[in-house]
């Protein structure tokens, strides 16, 4: 009834996680190309001294500190230093995607992402925290052992399965279950999720609502059902995702939910990172397990 086991494709899952995170982060930073100065320069929309005040003088790495350091040692202007830092960041992300010096590249990308995030604290949101988290996992977890340039250079075969890769996938799964469960429980305390008002607000308010969804006022039961469905999906995620009979349909529903969020609320990157996480932690283990099971039953029938 419940299947908590992992198959032997844990490294494939980690490879998908690595490539997905790197590709999405790369697209994200490139999409902000016209706004680097606004976001990250010391005279940007959040000035350096204001950011220091917001951080309450916590000793964390910020993009301002990093660019001052780069500008000092390379003797260039701040704008050039920002571009140099972002060039290194983009290169590190491409290296992660290719699996070239994976852990080192992930460390560089993680440090720069942390600096970017800390340099514009009030401008960052859930997606930035998730990305930071994922880059940290790319340093710690063995993500570069499957279809990677490192394998080609060191003449390694694609790794199959190790305790560390299994632990890594398991921990991604546990964290994902915690995220959905806690998010669902927190939502369940709000009355607006039961009467459709939350869905209505989400899709109709700036800056999220982009598509005219005013028809929901004519058919409020649609908003009510969506709101209650979100609660059910999130609270019961840890249960449904391990329930053998429905898990492969459930993961499709979760991905569809995130796709809908991306389309209606324009939260493409947030939806993207959640989809990648779901596919890596559960999608591949579930579908390869199903495939193996059907191959096995076919063989049994033939015998």
């Amino acid at each position: 009834m419940f299947n908590l086991s992992l198959n032997k494709n844990t490294f494939l899952s980690l490879c998908v996680f690595r490539c997905g995170v790197a590709a999405l982060t790369l697209i994200h930073i490139l999409s902000l190309y016209n706004d680097y100065d606004t976001l990250y320069s010391s005279n940007g929309i959040i000035r350096e001294e204001v950011n220091t005040l917001i951080l309450d003088n916590t000793p964390v790495l910020t993009i301002h500190a990093l660019t001052h350091w780069v500008a000092k040692y390379s003797q260039c202007q701040e704008a050039q230093a920002i571009n140099l830092v972002l060039f290194v960041y983009i290169t590190a992300l491409i290296f992660i995607f290719l699996g070239f010096m994976t852990r080192f590249s992930a460390l560089i990308a993680f440090l720069i992402h942390t600096a970017l995030d800390n340099g514009a604290t009030v401008l960052s949101y859930g997606y930035d925290s998730f990305t930071n988290n994922c880059l940290l996992y790319c340093i710690l977890m063995p993500v570069g052992y499957y279809y990677s340039v490192d394998n080609f250079i060191f003449k390694r075969k694609n790794a199959e399965d190790t305790p560390l890769s299994r632990l890594s996938i398991r921990l991604l799964q546990i964290q994902l279950c915690t995220i959905y469960f806690m998010s669902g429980i927190n939502k369940s305390f709000g009355s607006d999720w039961y009467n459709g008002e939350c869905i209505w607000r989400a899709v109709m308010q700036p800056p999220l609502g982009k598509i005219d969804m005013s028809f929901l006022a004519t058919f409020p039961f649609i908003a009510v059902s969506i709101g209650i469905s979100v609660l059910i999906i999130e609270i019961f995620y840890p249960f449904f995702i391990h329930f053998t009979r429905i898990h492969k349909y459930f993961i499709c529903i979760v991905i569809l939910m995130h796709l809908s969020i991306a389309i209606t609320l324009n939260l493409w990157f947030f939806a993207g990172i959640m989809i990648i996480w779901n596919i890596a932690a559960y999608g591949i283990p579930i579908y390869t397990r199903t495939e193996n099971a059907s191959t096995k039953s076919l063989t049994d029938t033939r015998l």
């Binding site: 998010s183 607000r201 109709m204 700036p206």
Partner: protein
């Protein structure tokens, strides 16, 4: 290898129990290293859009010309991602009353640098009033709600004030 196991376990442990962060670690008691780890590992609550979704906000930037009439300064951004980030700033200004003034000052300085011809700027932050589902059906439409913050800066003001 053992150290790696420990590190992965430790970081994920912190994440799993992250929802307790605000309750367990009172901000005043929170040591700096926890704060730093928090920033690195998402040691924050996973309460996306909960328990309810709040009202949205609108920022209007205006400048007064020599005749005294107000002109709107365009604040459109180039990408939806940037728009999302700027919205977080409005949200911060709405929530954090202690840092409002410095944030408004920073925003005003930025727009004055972008538009050097302007010598005064007014920032007005409004709640966005979206009628409830039933009221919308009855004909009520979204409109600007209460003005919750207003400040005015001139070119002389927008020099860095915090050292």
């Amino acid at each position: 290898m053992g150290l790696l196991y420990f590190l992965i376990g430790f970081i994920v442990f912190l994440n799993i129990f992250s929802f307790a962060n605000k309750k367990v670690f009172n901000k005043k008691l929170q040591p700096p290293f926890i704060n730093a780890i928090g920033r690195w590992t998402m040691l924050s609550e996973y309460a996306f859009y909960s328990p309810n979704i709040a009202n949205s906000y609108v920022m209007l930037l205006t400048t007064k010309d020599t005749s005294g009439s107000l002109n709107l300064i365009p604040t459109a951004v180039s990408s939806f991602e940037m728009q999302q980030k700027i919205f977080n700033l409005y949200h911060f200004i709405r929530q954090d009353t202690t840092l409002r003034d410095v944030l408004a000052h920073s925003v005003a300085t930025y727009y004055m640098n972008v538009n050097p011809e302007i010598d005064n700027i007014q920032l007005s932050f409004f709640d966005y009033h979206l009628p409830k589902l039933s009221r919308y059906q009855q004909g009520e439409r979204p409109e600007l709600g209460d003005l919750f913050y207003f400040s005015e800066f001139t070119k002389r003001d927008v020099q860095p004030i915090i050292k």
